[in-house]
Amino acid sequence: MPSLPDGLVVVAKRECPTCTLVEPLLAELAADGTPVTVYVQDDPAFGRGATRVVDDTRLEHSYALDVEIVPTLIRVEDGREVERTYGWHRGDWQRISGRAGLGAALPEVRPGCGSLTLEPGVSETLAVRFGKAKFASRAVEIGAAEDPEEACFARGWSDGLPVIPPTRERVLRMLSGTTRDPGEIIGMVPPDLAPCTVEKVAINAVMAGCKPEYLPVVLAAVEAALIDEFGMHGILCTTMFCGPLVVVNGPIAQAIGMNSGVNALGQGNRANATIGRALQLVIRNVGGGRPGEVDRSALGTPGKYTFCFAEAEHPQWNPLSVERGFARGTNTVTLFAGEGVQGIVDQKSRTPESLARTFALCMRAVDHPKLAMAGDALLVVSPEHSRVFFDAGWSKARLLEELTALLQLPGDEMVVGAGGIAEGLPLSMKGTRVPKFRPGGIQIVRAGGSAGLFSAVIAGWAASGPVGSTPVTKEITT
């Protein structure tokens, strides 16, 4: 940006009626030899009568002058701005120009119009074009004939589905979703234990398809995944099925349009789909965790593309965040090393006792009905099923207590060889009662559409607990 020309500077655009209103005054302002320079944003033919008209359709000057409203009038002395006004305020224009009679025939006040620099999406383009936006990440220039989406595939940045090409403008816009410094290192991402900055998360969030307002949730999810007890390295490299499942609690879920209702665990909601995907792309791209390399899963699960939903919080049940020690209303992410969704169909139980027995029986299938104290379970209770418990006054804690009691299983049926099946618990467990899950190994959330007497159990990693992965909860900040 060259230094400002002395005299009067007017920034304007033809399509603004207030600018056309003041256009006839330009000649009057310039009549005594005062240099009048017009920077015009849309039509270089605008500004007749000015000393000089500068085509600012690239918006370089408007951006450098930080113009928000047109017309903007600026008085410049010795290359420096002395005073400015915007819109048409006769008194201001008369004072700044030193012309007592200026615009006497015009109305006293006319508001201006928005500067083109503030059109949606333009400010990021200008920040990149004029060098105000700085990035630490490496710039990858792609060939003129290369398709940007294909370029991302070719470089191995995709999970198999198309990604949004992470241009500087998009990343800048994404970073507007957080108050955090782009250079802040939020942790070391396995398996490569590569340092991960807020900027790297933003790049991957762009590729996943996130909106900027999702970024705080993505950042919290990445930070949670890096908490040691979550064991992200093991979750990634295991031959088993699991991937990081994200449950969001608190008002932010509704604020950013997450789905906790119909098809909550399925497709179709941008926030659910892209937040879970962004976390997986960070693991892939920053951490270097790719299937067939360090990711050795025998089968995997579709949830490894993305697995994220919000809890359908209800006043009669403590949300997961509260069960995990946070105040009600706190925005949190809880991460669970989840496998797939196993449906629980029970359309006949009308008492909590009967329905709890159904849940317990279905939960025995986690890993294998003859195994215990291996994988955790995330029980997703639908609204219609939860109503059975609400009506009977069962809290979530009560349901958990009853499930824990119902899941004290007969060792006789579970030891190796029992039922003609070699798999099973050690013979020493014969004659004992065996808890199916480790203490703290059951999480309960409420989600789903209002019709359907169906719930779901999501099995955890068979190496749940301190040996592998423990669920973690992290507060979402700005």
Binding site: P166, T167, I203, N285
Partner: protein, 94 residues
């Protein structure tokens, strides 16, 4: 006004921006080599000699031919070469 498209690297930047060439095999033992003639005049003279030299070393060679040098290889041909060969030799000029 539109410059080249610049993307920001989403990775930990442990690998160079320019993608590396595939590693060369340490030997041709047990490998099947495809020779793709792009149909440029007299390309076959050079490729026939290459074929002889490879076969003299005991290497299995398969020959392929593009219908015309003016267009990329048909997808079916590219897929067949990829399925049938470990390595491919393709002449790209006169």
């Amino acid at each position: 006004m539109n410059g080249p498209t610049v993307l920001l690297d989403p990775t930990a930047e442990l690998a160079p921006v320019a993608r590396a060439l595939s590693a060369r095999p340490p030997s041709l033992d047990g490998k099947r080599v495809g020779i793709l003639d792009i149909s440029k005049a007299r390309g076959n003279v050079f490729l026939d000699r290459l074929d002889e030299l490879l076969q003299a070393r005991g290497v299995t060679v398969r020959r392929y031919r593009k219908p015309t040098f003016t267009r990329p290889a048909p997808v079916e041909l590219a897929q067949r070469i990829a399925a049938e060969c470990n390595l491919v030799v393709e002449g790209l000029a006169d």
